[in-house]
């Protein structure tokens, strides 16, 4: 019986905390954008004229098919990150796409139409060099994979190995390219640097070496970079030292013929390494005898090899990019040349004559906030009159893909930089003019009763006006058909909504491109490409001034730090418009160790940013007199900490009035035993509503709410599963006092930590039981509060009570974050990104160290859930239902104007934005609120009263007559 009651209670609790999505809410306030990453290889599916597929393989180890009409994904396959999932080559034939993955470890063939795997083959180890399709008698049936020491040929149909051969003299010869001209022979080209080229010819049938020749070429070291096979099997190489083209007939292999570029009347830009581009329309046929020679950053030549003679067909100057494309029997060359500052034109040229094809001009507008065009992917098709039409996909430096149709209509753009968001912030939108007017009324100091009244009236009038205008718009829109009514979002009409639910998402991507995205629709409102960002930069985004200080514009500062040198730059911009601010950021000549945003403001309401350099000197931004004075006054209460994980040192510093620093404390964690993995403080914008928890016996257990508390996670250097451990240290950031230390034995990382209020939740891998475990630490002051008004780290004599409990979690996790609301009244949930792409909203209630093992009257009173070791994952708790987020890397939570609502953005390969209601929508009417019912009940009651009144009157009259 007791068990039954327990079960009932559990069910009851579950019912109350359930926070699921309703089916009709799909897409109402959430959206997802799917990305693939920076494109490395792309192929247009040409097997059918009507095919709409673009196959892309990216640097994020993603292989996907895009719809060329809309830019959406047909399907996408996300492989492991890191070198094991790295895509080395993409070969496409008919409806099969062959990928070489993981430095030649795996050969995979995909069915392009279905998006499923045909076969997968494990190859021998060895560094991958090159791969090509091998055709014979007009059909393509094999694929050849060249590695450092071995070449193997596989059947396209099932992946089975046809033959594998060790390459001769592979210790000395650096084999680099494999080529097949469709005549039953496979050519392997290798080079001994500064000596000669080695050409090995294999028979397609049995892998027998037909021929093996060496040809003198002392200047050659890299075949793919400077050579190409053209025409009937002629190896064409360009030598940048002697400025000459060298040709070698692969079938006769006598010696290289040198043709100086001067004899063709050509000159090479100094310091430019010329390169060649050839084209093989079909792997079963010979390559074209025409090829491109790039002579300078803006110069291409279309050349033709004609009986050993090189003929210049056309000189493209200036030209940015060029590409060959074949449709049917026709091959054309597409060349992009700059037109003016903001536009480029793309033209088609006949490949065998170099003549420009009529009516093939296409204008590509270069985004001034984007990067330069980097690659050209051309899709050509035959029109009804047999002329060639085409579309292009332009890839720019900022990883953007733009798909353009003639004469320049942009069909879609994909901002692939968003596949790698590093950090983000959500900024409140500015107030509208009327709202600002109202704000201004309250902001200014009073200047007389009469003027105040007048101002009040005038603003009231303005509001009335706005309201009437709004009504008029509603009425006007209602008459139009629904499809025409579109709420166009543009930067101009952006304004804060009633509950501050719509915000500007400022996203920083690793490529250095910044985005401003409307959180309601997901539309990109502005973008800004920073082109001088180092490859391995670390970013930190700070909101220095919010939109609350009208007329001062909001201001965000991005700290970009080179991880190697430590040198940093600041980019100051307006988060609403994306424009660079007029404020000139200070130059930072010294490497920066730490940055902190103080709650102090200068006279323009910009928060002060302190930067600590490697000399432990502090500089402030903005550094006006006002700021410096404020800093001097408050210097004694400004503390900061530095972490040196390589030496295992945590140290705390205090600011002196002259902006130098002094060390206050230091904690050294010996690096031989363990290393610091992460340090987490609390969110500065976090509010805690209740100072304590009411217990079952009506006493209060006060929370230990130390805003300076840091959670330091360490991992053991010993990885043996019996001896590895993870440690968690709770350190006061001001005094360096270690509040608590916990060690989880037989556990290893990756550790995910959330630190908030008075609790720390962390997740680790238990090597002993081979499962993921959650552990929660909660800190309490006890039954009475030492000083309930202010918390001071320096004056807290009693150590907090520490409670801890652990649970089993049935899945590994990718990232974790806690929900955050305006006032902190709403209960908290943990948002957990799972590798499956789901984002689980787990009530914090389940991670409560006070969950009792034996249920008692008091714990029931407190609504504590009885302890059970395993946490469950319910798909109803997935806030993103089936909209999975690939490779979740971060979850960003922001409070909205409504206490019940928290805005959530999950980012990784995809971006997903939604709202969560951890305690349900208690402060607004639910969206399934039945207006019909309530109004019909009201009307019914009204009429019932009327009727009964009438009846009563009649009755009274009758009675009076009696």
């Amino acid at each position: 019986m007791a068990k039954l009651i327990l079960l009932l209670l559990k069910l009851c609790i579950l019912f109350f905390v359930v926070d699921a999505v309703f089916e009709d809410q799909v897409g109402k306030f959430d959206w997802r954008q799917q990305y693939v990453g920076k494109v490395r290889f792309s192929h247009f599916d040409t097997q059918l004229q009507s095919s709409k597929k673009v196959l892309v393989a990216t640097e994020s180890n993603v292989f996907a098919a895009l719809n060329s009409r809309t830019g959406e994904l047909f399907w996408r396959h996300v492989d492991k990150t890191g070198p094991e999932g790295n895509i080395d080559a993409l070969l496409h034939h008919a409806q099969d796409a062959v990928l070489v993955v993981g430095n030649g470890r795996m050969l995979r063939s995909w069915d392009v139409n279905v998006g499923g795997l045909n076969w997968e083959m494990l190859l021998d180890t060895g560094s991958f060099q090159s791969a090509c399709l091998v055709g014979q008698q007009g059909t393509v049936k094999h694929v050849a994979v060249l590695k450092k020491t071995v070449i193997s040929v596989h059947y396209l149909s099932n992946g089975h190995q046809k033959w594998v051969e060790n390459l001769p003299e592979s210790e000395t010869v650096d084999y680099q390219t494999v080529y097949s001209g469709g005549n039953g022979q496979v050519f392997v080209l290798g080079v001994v640097p500064h000596s000669h080229i080695t050409i090995v010819v294999y028979s397609m049938e049995d892998g027998e070496i037909i021929k093996q020749v060496s040809v003198e070429a002392p200047w050659l070291s890299n075949i793919p970079a400077s050579c190409a096979v053209v025409g009937q099997g002629t190896l064409m190489c360009v030598d940048s030292t002697t400025m000459s083209l060298n040709t070698l007939d692969l079938h006769q292999q006598l010696q290289m013929t040198q043709i100086p570029l001067q004899s063709l009347g050509l000159e090479v830009d100094p310091d430019f390494h010329p390169s060649l581009v050839s084209h093989q329309p079909n792997p079963a046929q010979k390559p074209l005898s025409e090829f491109f020679l790039q002579l300078g950053p803006e110069r291409y030549l279309l050349l033709q090899l004609n009986n050993g003679q090189i003929v210049t067909l056309r000189d493209f100057k200036p030209a940015l990019l060029s590409s060959f494309v074949t449709t049917g029997e026709k091959t054309v060359a597409a060349v992009m040349s700059p037109k003016n500052k903001t536009a480029c034109s793309i033209n088609l040229f006949s490949s065998d004559t170099g003549r420009r094809l009529l009516d093939t001009t296409l204008i590509f507008t270069v985004d001034p906030n984007g990067g330069k065009p980097e690659r050209l992917h051309v899709q050509a098709f035959l029109k009804k009159d047999d002329s060639v039409g085409y579309r292009v996909m332009v890839q720019t430096e900022d990883h953007t893909l733009t798909f353009i149709q003639q004469p320049g209509r942009v069909m879609w753009t994909r901002e692939e930089a968003l596949s790698d968001v590093v950090t983000m912030e959500m900024v409140d939108l500015p107030l509208t003019g009327t709202q600002a007017e109202l704000e201004g009324e309250f902001g200014k100091k009073a200047d007389g009763l009469l003027s105040m009244v007048l101002k009040r009236l005038s603003s009231q009038l303005i509001m009335l006006q706005a309201w009437i205008a709004h009504l008029w718009k509603l009425f006007y829109d209602a008459r139009k058909p629904r499809s025409q009514v579109k709420n166009e979002v543009s930067i101009e009409n952006l304004s804060r909504d009633e509950f501050n639910l719509q915000k500007m998402m400022v996203m920083v991507t690793s490529s250095g491109k910044l985005f401003g995205i409307d959180s309601k629709t997901g539309e990109i409102l502005w973008k800004h490409y920073l082109d001088n960002v180092p490859k391995n930069a670390a970013f930190k985004l700070m909101v220095q001034r919010t939109t609350a200080h009208f007329p001062h514009p909001p201001q965000c500062t991005l700290l970009i730090k080179d991880k190697d040198t430590g040198l940093a730059t600041l980019h100051v911009f307006n988060p609403i418009f994306g424009r660079k601010s007029q404020v000139t950021p200070p130059a930072l000549p010294q490497p920066i160790l730490q940055s902190l945003l103080l709650p102090l403001m200068d006279q323009d309401y910009a928060k002060v940013l302190l930067l600590v350099d490697n000399q432990y000197k502090v500089s402030a931004f903005p550094s006006t007199k006002n700021v410096l004075q404020q800093l001097q006054e408050t210097a004694s209460s400004i503390f900061f900490f530095l972490i040196d994980s390589s030496q295992g040192r945590l140290s705390g510093y205090r600011l002196r009035t002259d902006l130098s620093t002094e060390q206050v404390w230091e904690v050294v964690i010996p690096t031989e035993v363990q290393k610091i993995v992460s340090v987490k403080g609390k969110r500065p914008n976090e509010h805690v509503h209740s100072q304590g928890r009411v217990m079952g016996d009506r006493s209060v257990l006060y929370k230990y709410l130390n805003p300076n508390l840091l959670a330091v996670v360490t991992e053991s250097t010993d990885v043996h599963q019996e001896r590895s451990f993870i440690g968690i240290l709770l350190i006061d950031g001001v005094t360096g006092r270690i509040i608590h230390e916990a060690v989880q034995r037989k556990a290893r990382g990756p550790v995910h930590v959330v630190h908030s209020e008075n609790w720390v939740v962390y997740e680790y891998w238990s090597t002993k039981s081979r499962r993921n475990e959650f552990s929660v630490i909660e800190l309490y002051e006890g039954m009475e509060l030492y000083n309930s008004t202010v918390f001071s780290s320096l004056d807290r004599p009693h150590a907090p009570q520490v409670l801890q409990q652990s649970y089993i979690f049935p899945s590994s996790i990718s990232t974790m974050e806690a929900t955050l609301t305006e006032k902190g009244i709403t209960s908290r949930h943990l948002l957990i990104g799972l590798p499956s792409g789901g984002i689980l909203s787990l009530p914090k209630m389940f991670l409560d160290p006070r969950r009792p093992e034996i249920i008692s009257e008091q714990s029931r009173e407190e609504n504590l859930i009885p302890y059970s070791p395993e946490l469950i994952i319910r798909t109803e708790w997935f806030i993103n239902y089936n909209q999975t987020v690939g490779r979740v890397r971060g979850i960003h939570t922001t409070p909205s104007g409504l206490e019940s609502t928290c805005l959530v953005v999950a980012y990784g390969l995809d971006i997903y934005q939604t709202r969560v209601y951890p305690s349900k929508q208690f402060d607004v009417l639910k969206d399934d609120y039945d207006y019909m019912l309530i109004s019909s009940v009201l009307f019914a009651l009204f009429f019932a009263t009327m009727i009964s009144k009438r009846l009563a009157e009649v009755k009274l009259l009758n009675r009076a007559w009696r």
Partner: protein, 244 residues
Amino acid sequence: MSQRGRMPLLWLFIQAGLVLVSCFTDMETGPGAGVSTQPNGDKFKIEGRAIVPGVKTQDWVSTARVLVEGEEYVGFLRTDGSFAVNDIPSGSYVVEVVTPTYRFEPVRVDITSKGKMRARLVNYIKTSEVIRQPYPLQIRASGPHSYFMKRETWGWTDFLMNPMVMMMVLPLLIIVLLPKVVNTNDPEMRKEMEQSMNMLNPNPELPDVSELMTKLFSGSKGSSKAGSSSSSGSKGSRPAAKRR
């Protein structure tokens, strides 16, 4: 054994692994360290098939992935629903097939250092418990994921069965039906009823809610203000006077 017969290639592979492993076992310091240093030989393959009953494989394989121990190893599904995850060192792993639409139960696969495979049910609490599962894995979808909550729909039955409504309806019925049953014209009865009414209403000074409502509604309805107010006053006062 029949399973092994079906995959001679794998068996060969495992045997090759076995030979290599036996050379390495002596110097093995720990599985983690030992595995990472060996380039090949003791890497195995987890094979299986995922089935969604009643759905064509083409319709769902493009969204599916096989995750081994989180995202540590990733495999993809072939167009017939079968899969193989390569390059896995010996150990114990949880294999999951994930799709956004269908739910698959995870399976634990143990691989010995000799390459022997065993599949069993995942039990995170009793980790050593063995309930054997077929290997190569046969993972059958247990239905579509249920992501959504049902809206509480409003129906007349819900409304009527509500205890509050019941409490309201039953007295109403009594009020309406009782006068029909009991003869109200009987003066004795009426006297009795009036007495009981007075007992029910101990404080006659308290304004009656229904009276207030009638006042309010008649006031809003009237054509002339003065007339309506006077009439409502007279109407309102009359029953009150009568009751006294």
